[in-house]
């Protein structure tokens, strides 16, 4: 169920260049059901900035009523969020949207992420591992400075890193790694920039896949019709990234 709560900041740290990891605590954490859902955060109590910021969830700890988010501080809103310290509270709305269906994987899954699309794949990998699914992680970043959670992913399964400038791992995009890997998996899950999602879909037209999309959002709950995408399912209607998604089966979103 969607809740609004002033949650306690437990920890915040910069884990890569401009990439922040923020852990919060509160009853809302216990509503988290699927990896890939997001929360909508009000970064200031003033009217500036006015709108909430959609932030993805990297891991959930139901026992401690906590969850951890990872975001890139690049604008005014996320810049203010990066200033929050343990003991502060933040206004969180969530969990929102539909996440990755973990039950769809059978034996082996590829988890393909780019940049700030990587965080939700971490909770996904944990939940898939818990179900006995082997996970292979293919993660792309701008440069070595921007890489995060590499060791954490390695503990959960085979992990490949690509950087655009070649300063770490394979030089290029995740697709360069995918070209070299076997196709002995049954399901893929992906989150990242839209061109990357397109490339991943093209790479595996025969496989079962689930993709998490991004779009400029207003309300985050499906009421404002800001974050719409065309869909192969209807010529007369849009789908909303915030409430119908952000995760959709491959082939549904026309980007």
């Amino acid at each position: 169920m969607i809740k609004q709560e002033r949650m306690q900041v437990i920890n915040q740290q910069e884990i890569a260049h401009c990439i922040f990891e923020l852990t919060v605590q509160g009853a809302l954490a216990n509503e988290m059901a699927e990896p890939g859902q997001f929360v909508h955060i009000r970064v200031a109590d003033s009217f500036e900035p006015l709108l909430r910021r959609p932030i993805s969830v990297a891991s959930i700890d139901l026992e401690a009523s906590q969850f951890t988010m990872i975001y890139r501080a690049e604008g005014r809103g996320t810049g203010l969020l990066a200033e929050k310290k343990p003991g502060d509270t933040i206004d969180v709305l969530g969990p929102l949207g539909h996440g990755f269906p973990v039950e769809e994987a059978e034996k082996k899954a590829y988890l393909i992420g780019g940049g700030i699309g990587v965080p939700p794949l971490y909770e996904l990998a944990k939940q898939l591992n818990a179900r006995g699914i082997e996970t292979v992680h293919i993660l792309g970043f701008e440069s070595k400075q921007a890489v995060f959670y590499e060791d954490k992913f390695r503990k959960l399964g085979e992990t490949h890193i690509a950087t655009v400038d070649g300063s770490h791992g394979t030089q290029g995009f995740v697709t360069h790694i995918l070209n070299e890997l076997p196709t002995d998996f049954d399901t893929y899950y992906s989150c990242g920039p839209t061109p990357m999602l397109e490339a991943v879909q093209w790479a595996y037209p025969q496989k079962k896949g689930f993709l998490s999309y991004e779009q400029r959002m207003g309300c985050g709950i499906g009421a404002c019709f800001a974050c719409v995408c065309r869909t192969t399912k209807s010529e007369t209607d849009y789908i909303k990234v915030c409430s119908d998604g952000p995760v959709f089966p491959a082939g549904v979103v026309i980007s």
């Binding site: 969607i2 009421a223 019709f225 800001a226 007369t236």
Partner: protein, 304 residues
């Protein structure tokens, strides 16, 4: 206990708080969060004869204390709204104000005639002020003669009282208000959004795909208040005021300026519980200010 009820043409409101059209869909999203029967009324998303896809994205952009939107009247069309959305809302004890939009007078008439017959639609809000569509919308709301004739045409077919939603994007809003009064309107809702733009500083391109969008949020409250104040002195029509309302004191201000009830728009996106929160705070705030009822507050600025 303070009396929150408001009586307006077609509308017996439990309280003066109404979510504004375009900010509340057809209620389903907010119904997951609270009981919609608490609300004074609901202004549903603008309905046109045909299904409309609306504008390309990006459709919204944040601005200082506000936001721009250019959704472009995306809606499932008259048939789906009357067959699915309105019947779904019947389970709530709340009057519906149906927002009617179109490209031609005939479009408005067709939607008004049909949608006003739905059992839970107690009033119409005629959208002659949408700034985000190429045809219709605002073109009906910027010329007094056109606005008067459209009001007449809609009044002729509507089974319920008709409120006209005015645009602030005019030189003289009083002349438009007087024209719709002459055309037989039962009330006025105001204001719609103010036309605006935001640039991507790096590329020099407008951020909104439609180039311009409608500005809403706290940034526009002073403009809205001024317009409600002016219009309420020059027409006898009741006004449902809106523009940047985010808290209980904003509501008090609009009532003082001359509105009989208010609509809350953009604030729903910031705090989805804002409407029930304001309703809960209103009795105490009225008491603190020395009033027993909402009706005592209406237009008090004119009597000082």
């Amino acid at each position: 206990m303070s009396d929150l009820t408001v009586k307006l043409p077609g509308l017996n409101l439990k309280n003066p708080i109404i979510p504004a059209s375009g900010c509340f869909g057809f209620g389903k999203e907010y119904a997951q969060l609270y009981d919609l029967s608490q609300l004074g009324a609901i202004m549903i998303k603008a309905t046109t004869v045909e299904t409309r896809l609306g504008n390309p994205t990006p459709r919204v952009a944040e601005t200082a204390s506000g936001m721009l939107n250019a959704i472009g009247l995306q809606n499932p069309g008259l048939e789906k709204v009357t067959e699915q959305e309105l019947p779904w809302l019947e389970k709530y004890d709340v009057p519906i104000i149906a927002n009617v939009a179109g490209t031609t007078t005939e479009d408005y008439v067709e939607v008004a005639k049909m949608i006003s017959q739905a059992p839970n639609v107690h009033a119409l809000e005629i959208n002659i002020s949408c700034p985000n569509v190429k045809q219709g919308g605002i073109t009906f709301g910027t010329d007094p003669d056109v606005a008067r004739e459209l009001t007449r045409a809609v009044k002729e077919v509507s089974a319920v009282p008709v409120y006209i939603k005015l645009s602030p994007n005019v030189t003289n809003i009083v002349s438009i208000a007087k024209a719709v009064e002459e055309g037989g309107a039962d009330g006025i809702t105001m204001i719609n959004t103010l036309l605006g733009m935001r640039m991507d500083t790096k590329t020099g391109r407008p951020i909104i795909a439609n180039i311009t969008g409608g500005l809403s949020g706290p940034a526009i409250k002073p403009v809205a208040l001024r317009m409600v104040y002016e219009v309420s002195q020059h027409t006898k029509l009741p006004i449902i005021g809106m523009g940047g309302i985010t808290n209980v004191d904003d509501v008090i201000d609009f009532l003082s300026a001359g509105a009989s009830a208010v609509a809350v728009g953009t604030a729903n996106f910031v705090n989805p519980f804002v409407c029930p929160e304001i309703i809960g705070q209103l009795p105490e705030r009225l008491h603190e200010l020395g009033f027993d009822s909402v009706e005592q507050l209406v237009g008090r600025s004119h009597r000082l």
